[in-house]
Structures are given as C-alpha cells and as structure tokens.
Symmetry: C2
Subunit: 415 residues, 2 copies
C-alpha cells in the first residue's frame, strides 16, 4: 500500500505557539484518496533538521508532503534547501511571477523586490501555481518517490492539495480504497464498551481495524477497512457496521462521523422545527457550534447571551428577587432563562445553561464546574445538573455538548 | 542545549480525525522550562512504527515524551511495547490499583477486569500516579536519556506534566533560559514588515531569532533568546524588543503574546467600561472569544445573536421595512443592530456584525464573504465593509478579529 509522510516546518510548531491543523486536514484528504499516512513530523526552520527529515521520511514513505517555510522572509529557508537537496538551480517562473504581480495589483498594496522572489523556483520541479497567494507549490520526483512542498497558510495549502496534488498523485500511483465508518456513543465508558463488543472485535479480519476515540465524555467507535476491490470492501464493512450498531444500540447517538451539533441540526430540520439558546456560562459557544453548520438558519433562530445579572433580567425577564435568592447558577434561574428565550425568540425548542466555568467564581456550595442545563419547549422543560472538574475551555465545551445531547434526547422522547 | 522530542501515538492523528493539541501544549511547557523541542512525530498504533520512532527520536533528543496509546482497549499497545523495549516485566502497581478502585468508586460506574489492567506497569519504570484518570504515567531511564509515557487524554497529560514530569526533568538536567517576546501588528503585510525591519533583523546575534507569524490577516513578530545567564539574556532581549516596537509602531496592536480579544478586554477593564455584541453572521463567536477570558464579566455584558430576520426585529428592534429594502447585510441594518444592542443591554461599547459566511447565500451584489461591521457607543457609530474569500469557518474568524480590532481603534481614538 502506498504510504505518505507529512513534514511540517516552522519554529512556531515546536514552541507550541500554533496548533498544527494543516497536517490533520492533509491526512484526511490523503486518506480519502486511499493513501495511508504513516508518520507526521514537525521540524524547526533549521537547515540540518529539515534536511535530515527529508532523508528520514523517504525511508518509510513513497510520498512526502511538506508544508511551511515558504514565506518571503529570512526565517524561511525551505526553498533554497529543496533546490540544493534535489540538485537544481533557481530560476524565475514566468507564470508564478505574473501571479504575484496580479495579487499585488488586486490588493493595491505596494510590492517590493522580496515579493518577486516568491516567483523563483528550482528548475527541476513541477510548479504548482497558487491562485490564493504568492508562494507556488513545488513537486519533485526522485527514485520513484514524490516530494511536494506547499505553503503553510491553510487556505493556500488546501487549494493546492485539492486542485493539484491529489490529482497528480492519483495519476502516478494506484491506491486501494480505505473506508471508515464511525458512530458516536454517549453515557458509557470506554472499558465498558470494549467489554460489550469484545467478541465482535476479536472476530474482525486483519484488514479491518476498530478504534475507540474518546471525545468530550462520549466515545466514538471507528471501523476502517482497506482493499483494492472497493465494492467488496464496502459490502463487508457495511455489514459489520450494522452489527456494531446493534451491539451498542443503547448508547448510540449517531451512526455518522459528525459532531453533536450536526445531529441536533438534522433532527430539527427533519421535523421542520427551530431552536434558540439562552447562554450564560457558555457565553455564545453553543450558538457558535450551531451556526458553524452551513445553512444553520433553517433550524436556528438566535441566542441571548446573558452574561451579566442585568442582561438576565433585561433580556430574559429573569426575576430579580429569585436571582438574588437562588443565585444565577440554579435550577430555578435556568428554567426562567429557557422560558424567557422561548418567549422572546419564539422558537420551538430551547437550551438554557448557567454555570461556573472557572478558574475563579466558585462558592462553597457551588464549586467551579457546577452547571445547570434546561432544555424544552413551550409545554415542558427538562433540567440537569452537572459537575465538571476541568479547565475553563474544557468546561465550556463539555457544557455545550451535554446541553445539545440533552436537547437531542428531549426531542426524540419528550416532544 | 538539552533537546526533546515528542511522540504522539494514535491512528486518529494519521487519518486526521483529531487535531493534535497535546503536543503544542507540551512544547510550550518544555520551552518555558528551557528545553528545546527539536521534533514532533505522530505515529499509528502499530508495533513496528512505534518501536522505530523510539529508536529514531533518541538519536536527536535527550528527552523523549510519548503521549497516547495507554487506554484500556485492544488498540492500545504502547504499554506492553515499552515494557519489552526497556526489557522489563509487567507487575501490578499497588498505588495505581488503589487509584483505579477509587475512581470507579467515586463515579459509581461498574468496574471490570480490563480497568484493573490499567494498574499494570513495567517493573523498570518510575510510576507517575495519575490523579485524573486510570492510566498511570511511566518514566524510563536508558543510556542517559529519559523516556516518559503519558496518557493521551489532555487534562490527564497536562496534570502529569505539571506535577511530575517537568519537576523530574529539572532535577536531572541543567537547562538554559529561553525567553520569547512577541508583538502583534495589524494592517501590514509580511513582506512589507520584513523590509521595514531588515537592518534590525540582519544585526541580530546568533542566539537571538526573529520569526514572522501570520495570523488572521495580522502578523505577529517573535524574538527568541537563549542563554544560561538569565538576567543577561533578559536585559538583551528587552532592549531589542523595545527597538523592534519602535520600528513597527505604526502597525502595533500589542506588545504581548495574546489574542485580539484579550487586548480589547484589558483596554475596557482599564477604563472600567463594558461592552456588548449583536451578532448575525458570526453567530456567537465574538461572544465566545470574549467569554473565553477568565473574569470576562468585568467588561462583557452579553450578546444578542440575531440569526433570523424575526430575531433582528424582536430582539434588536431593527426596522422591518428597512430590513426588506436593504437586506440584512447592509450598513443601515448593522447600525440599527448596534443601536438596538446598546439600548437593550446598556453597555458602554458595542460591536455589531452582519455578513454572508458561505458556502451558500451569496447574491450578485453581495457575494459570499461580504461583511458589514459597526462599532461604537451611545454618541458615535463607526462602520466598515469587508470582503473575505475563504471558507465559512475562516470567514467567521476573520470577521470576529476584524470587528474586535475596529472596536479597539474606536476606543483608543474615538471615545
């Protein structure tokens, strides 16, 4: 099977200043095309370290994809290094030069000599024209291996991968099909799940793998099958995936690989219903998750993010006396928030949350991580109290996912 | 200088199903402690590939940190592999066993044999007790090199790093100081910036590096200095950082390494003012950015996420006739949204945004990526029209950052 390795270049990756989202995306695309990614390596903008990564990765992979290090500034040494590594000379590439000129023309920004340097490329590579930026991609062939260098700016890299790199690789290599099937469970631990499906897992043939992916207190199960006969592989995994769903049916959230908010969105769309949110502690994060889905306006009306006490009273008509008596993080208030949102936004369903996300703000009877959730409709409100013990960001994420899951259950059973 | 390498284990990293945030966080912590991370490698849950990564990484690094692959399920093979690699035998660790029992006791979940397996460790490692989960960390010494294996669950890994790993490394090695100074610029391209500071950059001594980090259409500049005499290094970089700030002063947003929302939050807190938001296209993302800051309630009151036309009318008193005449994405409507939010939420400052984030919803005169922003206070509203040409997620992020930057400028100059 054809194997690939991804090298990402940049000091910022090694001091942890940025999170490497590029290589995850690239791995997805390669995988979809039937190429197995065996390693991902991040190295600094240091000549010897990039050089030895190139030496090393071609031992294990047939395709080596490189991102980063192609900017116009002095800390970017990748292009001259690749030129030397593959024994070429730098030349001006006319189309790439025209591309740089066009971009500066369109942006109406002053162009300097340095920008034109972007159009210089080694003469022994295939140039991949970058429609979205000034740094062209470069494809080198050596001893039957393919090396591709791409800019590190995500949307530029993505455009080049889709338009040029994947099509070029599909011509040069013959790939098997890799098919993944993922389901999401909630309310059950990884070990318990493993026990439940132990016979199923043991009986899996060698070309089919099962993985457990814990995720915000839920567990995803992923089956992956590989083979050159695509219809046969599809049939086989389809059958196994059905068996797996039956085994975990009591905990199954969805048999698709998508996040909780998409499951809720589809459920609402299918019923032609809409929802709204009233958020305190999650501060708009639930709204953000839902509106990240293209076409969210079909099922989502809006949110009132009532961060202050005053906003809770003014925007959600929460009772001031009750607020002072019970505190913002209480069952009574979260119910009033839910009702207030339904009244003001006029949706079919609602989620309301109030909690203490930390690191400060904890009280003796309400420590950091205490959360009240209310979900429901005009007829009925369901509440839940949760306690988390993580950092602020994770507490926010877990509150959002749990609230969405509670609404999902409410829609399925209670409405 | 002591060098470290981070190995992350898991098929999910190589098919791009999850983004590796662990190693970025680990790199930050190691860096702060004066340890240079030279490589980060991700490998699959495959025996030979993990084994060869261990062989490979110790050639370049003194410290090898490993995360992932320690779960109780069959796809996790890291622990037996490490036992074999370092020539040990598996034994039950009594304290780790007690920890597993306590956790299941506290969670009131049924415990099975598989869970107790988590307390088995190689007899030749130092066990790092995991207070947050069932999988203990393990520290191995071999030929003067240190290998540490940690669970992949982020908060468990983080707890072990802070409580055990970093302190243990500080005892065993002597590290130099690494000091980073980062500033953020806006409204200027990377190449232009490079030209502006070319003399400064050329004159930098070898132990001080400058990096350009493009970020949402803005550029961060980072100076990094390394040395064993901490006060001397601090003095030196402090002086250079002042020079750098002067050189880029026309574009400087902040001389700290923090995101735009923190800059706005601090500005408001210093003035004892508050703000609110009225969000359409960003769907709560600006609210989420602001409320991700601990203690955000000091300067942030809340948001009205008016996703539907109806919500714009009901919650922000946007004029229905004008809405139908001009469309939701227009200067007139975004001004009304800003005024509506100020009136309802009663903050000192406001941000309102309306736009088309894609992939659908574009119109001939308002293509996908068209955004109107309004910022201001009771006296004055400032608007800006922007056009992005990216995917939905990036359009949302860029809109949020630009809106926050516009409010920042308004507070500094207009109020």
């Amino acid at each position: 099977m054809t194997q690939a390795s991804i090298i990402t270049i940049g000091d910022e990756l090694l001091i942890g200043q940025v999170i490497d989202t590029n290589s995850a995306w690239m791995a997805q695309q390669l995988n979809k095309a039937g190429i197995r990614v065996v390693r991902r390596v991040a190295v600094a903008d240091v000549w010897d370290e990039i050089w030895s990564a190139l030496d090393e990765e071609q031992k294990q992979a047939d395709i080596i994809l490189i991102t980063g290090g192609l900017g116009p500034t002095a800390d970017d040494i990748t292009k001259p290094l690749l030129c030397r590594y593959f024994g070429g000379h730098m030349v001006i590439h006319e189309e790439a030069k025209q591309n740089v000129l066009n971009i500066f023309n369109r942006l109406k920004r002053p162009m300097i000599e340095r920008n034109l340097k972007q159009a210089e490329v080694p003469d022994n590579c295939t140039v991949l024209l970058n429609k979205r930026g000034t740094a062209p991609g470069m494809l080198f062939n050596k001893d039957g291996k393919v090396f591709v260098s791409l800019p590190g700016v995500p949307h530029e890299m993505m455009g080049l991968m889709e338009d040029d790199v994947i099509p070029a690789l599909l011509i040069q290599f013959q790939f098997p099909s890799i098919i993944h099937k993922t389901l999401l469970t909630a309310g059950v631990g990884e070990s318990f799940l493993a026990e439940l499906i132990i016979d199923f897992e043991t009986a899996l043939p060698a070309h089919i793998k099962l993985a457990y992916l814990p995720n915000y207190g839920m567990v995803r199960l992923r089956l992956s099958a590989t083979g050159f006969n695509k219809p046969a592989v599809e049939n086989e995994i389809e059958q196994l995936f059905e068996d797996l769903q039956l085994l975990v049916k009591d905990y199954l959230v969805t048999n698709t690989d998508e996040p909780m908010q998409n499951v809720v969105g589809k459920l609402l769309s299918a019923k032609e219903k809409t929802m709204c949110t009233a958020e305190s502690c999650t501060g708009g994060y639930i709204a953000h998750l839902l509106t990240s889905i293209p076409g969210a306006s079909k099922f989502y009306d809006g949110s009132i993010v009532s961060y202050s006490y005053q906003a809770k009273e003014d925007l959600l008509q929460v009772d001031k006396t009750l607020l002072e008596l019970k505190g913002a993080v209480s069952e009574e208030i979260v119910i009033q928030m839910a009702k207030g949102a339904l009244q003001n936004i006029k949706s079919d369903f609602v989620i309301a949350v109030s909690g203490i996300m930390g690191p400060d703000g904890g009280l003796p009877d309400k420590p950091v991580g205490t959360v009240w959730i209310a979900v429901g409709n005009k007829e009925d409100i369901l509440t839940q109290k949760l306690s988390f013990r993580f950092n602020r960001q994770r507490n926010i994420e877990l509150t959002a996912t749990n609230a969405l899951n509670l609404l999902r259950k409410f829609i399925l059973t209670g409405a």
